[in-house]
Amino acid sequence: MKTAYLLPKKYKTIGWILFIAGLISGMLSYVLNFNNEILVTNVFTIYSDSFLGDSSFFKIIENSILDELIALSIIVGGLIVGFSKEKVEDEFIYKLRTDSLVWAIICNYLVLLFTILFVYDMTFFDVLIFNMFTPLVIFVFRFNFLKLKSQGHDE
């Protein structure tokens, strides 16, 4: 089966490594509250407005790039895992993939609706941060769960 947007299968391993490493370090940095001291470097910004001080427009500023690295790792890893070819890529696997995507979007927004109604202030800011990753994370886990479930036994 031909699909235009799928990466070759060989990328899957590197995808999993990035994805899992990103998720674990993300959780750690959230729980342990690493904030802005690690990996501070000069970065180029198109626009950023800090709480204290001036806003920057097309400027070089100093920033801890730890959170950027973690976010990139989760997103790039997740995209690779979700959108690289399976061992055998056929119409059934394709259907599982699209079903999981639909499931992830619905699930994600149901949870978001709930949090919009019942979570407020700075906690909601945390919800927004998690929400950057939940569609991808739910999709990847749902897809792999469905694949395992449909494995069955060969008789």
Binding site: V88, F92, S150
Partner: protein, 66 residues
């Protein structure tokens, strides 16, 4: 839609993996079809019928709910 894939497989003495390999799909697909959890595309159905050398209607059947 239902099918008698399992019977045809038994007649030809094939495992799910054998059948999957012969028509170039994953074993999950065969498993899902046999459990009536997946309706194959026309192309895939025709491939299976051709492999077993049977008309399509001898392997796949419409159900009342279809």
């Amino acid at each position: 839609m239902t099918n008698n894939l399992k019977v045809e497989r038994a007649i030809h003495d094939m495992t799910q993996a054998d059948l999957a390999e012969k028509i170039g799909v994953s074993r999950q697909s065969i498993n899902a079809m046999e459990k009536n959890k997946y309706v194959p595309s026309t192309v895939l159905a025709l491939k299976i019928a051709k492999l077993f050398n049977r008309p399509l209607e001898a392997i796949f059947f419409l159900e009342d709910t279809d």
